[in-house]
Amino acid sequence: MKTSSKSGLKIAPKSRLQLNKKKSLKTPKSGSAKDAFSGLSKELLVQMHDLMVKSRVLEERLIKIYRAGESYFWIGGPGEEAWGVPIGLLAKVGQGLDHDFFHLHYRCTPTLIALGMPMVDSIRLMMNRATDPSTGGRNFSNHYCFPKWNLASVTSPIEVQYSIACGTAHAQKRAGKKTISIVTGGDAGTAEGDFASCLIWASRKGNELPLLITVQNNKWGISTCFDGQHGETEIADRARAFNIKSRVINGNDPVESYLALKEDMEYIRKTGKPAFIEAQVSRLYGHSSASGANAVSNEIDCVKEFEKKLINHGYISKDKAQAVWDKYEEEGLRAVEIARSEPLPTAESVWDHIYAHNENADWRKF
């Protein structure tokens, strides 16, 4: 008998878990391009496309790194670009109570890209480099942390971010700078009590919190599908019960996402009260590398759809669009090379940062 410790975390690696779930593709609305994109400017649309592609290319690069055996585990956000990018674009970004706070789950690469994270920083995390700015090689891919953007550390335990977010929102309300906290998470995770806690603490009459509560509903929790696990018609109904402004949107549409997020962020800043958005999104590479990280063919690909629509309406040419993909493909490749050449965390460093200012926490040295 032999213990295996070489391969990364594997969960039933080869089973195919996807049920048929192809949603009908939206055909571009007739009328002017402006109408088709609800009046959003061409610049913004092209920027969103650029960021969505960048995020997608990056995630696919991470998967390739995993497949090449240069990382132990992949989890990430392909399928959430149309939803995640607008969040990063719309928030008031910076450090401290004058800015918005982010409490994101592990599919948040699109938001990070929109915030300005260079690809290499995601790859450093994926490849557990000492230079990984989020965790120093300590944690899984997509477990980002950037205090300079008020981005709380992404945690593996599902849903805990929902109650922590109430704390930053509370401090923001007290500071009075009209800043908000934003929390994201999955549909299955709403079964944890922390989701209910968030709704409760955010909506206390007279003590409401400036909190944008969101759920990315991809209809899956690993292998378990939404149907059969939920009694509520929409997850948003649970927020409505608390008299929270709530809606369900098509998170595969960046325009709808942008407009809904914009309106709700403004509402929160103005009223100091919470809002809730359930965004229907896709999960384009299955749950994680543990389930194979294989591309699925029966869910909407928001990046491709959006690109097609931009091309159809003449906002971008096919070639220009392709060039965006190529540009990031190259950036990704270069980033891998950079990361590969960087140092690994040292064994002794495990004792670092247990206490602030590296105060000793090793009892052998008390």
């Binding site: 401290g96 989020s134 205090p147 550390s153 930053t168 401090a171 922390d194 603490w201 602030a356 008390f366």
Partner: protein, 351 residues
């Protein structure tokens, strides 16, 4: 002299006026009650939360993430056990982020038996807490220490668990809090909420002075030569009593109030053992996988050749709970007579 509830209240008041403490919250922590042990009466930053321990800890973590200082209360440590995952996250956030997000938060919670509190108002938490890496963990035994440790806890950039021995909340100290009026009655009139309608009441705070007790520093409460007894919280006071009684028989017991469970004052323990050669660790948490066993194990490892007797741990029996009837409770957690008996036994052990 103030009791421990008043001392903590004064520390929190000092915190909100001098140390940037912005929130003191928990179940029944705000007006009108000011805490089930009155430790938060009259504080301007105290507020009542929903009945949701997980929400309370999450709120504290979020506040701490912004850099604001807060003290959150779990009404009884008996009800903290649904938050261990969050406590672990609070303790590992700095480490997981490679030093980026420290969480300067304090969680305070009443612990221990001694008030006939039955199964769910008698739990201890020190053994559990000693397993929460990334936390600092303290437990005072006197009002002045609770004042000093609370100030240090509020100032500390790390999460600090402040355990309040519930049976000591109304016990008065022998030392004045710096700034406290010397008359007990005067203090009461100033800072205790009145009986009946409190809606118009406001406390009159004494002019308090800072008094920081560094986390990690023990205190020798009785000097002795023949044996060292290490304890904290409620049990510490009983150990003091035992030492005083045995002193009358010319048995010389050194008592150390550890005060901090993590980081703990190993140098003080070590020096004392070098002197006495015999050691007893006393606490009231359950005995299997107990923090005292850690200290005893370490003693065996590092002091083996200085020991005149086996290191000993006296702790709560490994029972699922502490029964209500005194016959049950008293047979579940260490009693004065048992501590005295253990001391005698260890002293009479021939190396």
């Amino acid at each position: 002299m103030s009791n421990m509830a008043q001392a903590i209240r004064m520390a929190l008041h000092y915190g909100e006026t001098h140390l940037g403490l912005k929130d003191v919250f928990g179940q029944d922590v705000g007006a009108p009650l000011g805490g089930v042990f009155t430790a938060t009466q009259g504080l301007k930053t105290a507020w009542n939360t929903p009945l949701d321990e997980r929400g309370i800890i999450g709120m504290a973590m979020g506040i701490a993430m912004t850099g604001d200082r807060c003290v959150a209360e779990i009404q009884f440590c008996d009800y903290i056990f649904n938050t261990i995952d969050l406590l672990k996250i609070a303790g590992n956030t700095l480490w997981c982020t490679n030093g980026q997000y420290n969480l300067p938060m304090v969680v305070m919670t009443p612990v221990g038996a001694g008030i006939r509190g039955s199964v769910y108002h008698s739990h201890s938490f020190d053994a559990w807490a000693s397993r929460l890496s990334g936390w600092k963990v303290v437990m005072p035994s006197t009002p002045l220490d609770s004042y000093g440790l609370m100030l240090s806890a509020i100032e500390d950039p790390n999460p600090v668990l402040f355990m309040k021995p519930k049976a000591l909340m109304r016990v008065r100290g022998e030392e004045l809090i710096p700034g406290e009026p010397s008359e007990e009655k005067q203090l009461k009139a100033m800072i205790d909420a009145p009986i009946g309608d409190r809606s118009q009441w406001k406390p009159k705070w004494p002019k308090l002075e800072p008094h920081m007790i560094p986390i990690g520093q023990g205190k020798i409460t009785r000097s002795g030569e023949q044996i060292t007894v290490v304890s904290y919280g409620r049990m510490l006071l009983i150990c003091n009593e035992v030492a005083d009684e045995l002193a009358r028989e010319n048995i010389s017991v050194e008592v150390i109030d550890l005060r901090s469970i993590y980081p703990y004052d190993w140098q003080m323990i070590k020096e004392s053992i070098l002197k006495t050669g015999r050691i007893l660790f006393v606490n009231e948490d359950t005995e299997v996988t107990n923090f005292g066993e850690h200290l005893a194990y370490r003693t065996t490892q590092e002091m083996f050749y200085h020991l005149l007797a086996r290191p000993r741990v006296l702790a709560g029996k490994n029972l699922p709970g502490i029964g209500l009837h005194p016959y049950l409770e008293d047979n579940s957690v260490p009693q004065k007579s048992e501590i005295a008996a253990a001391v005698r036994e260890i002293i009479s052990e021939v190396p």
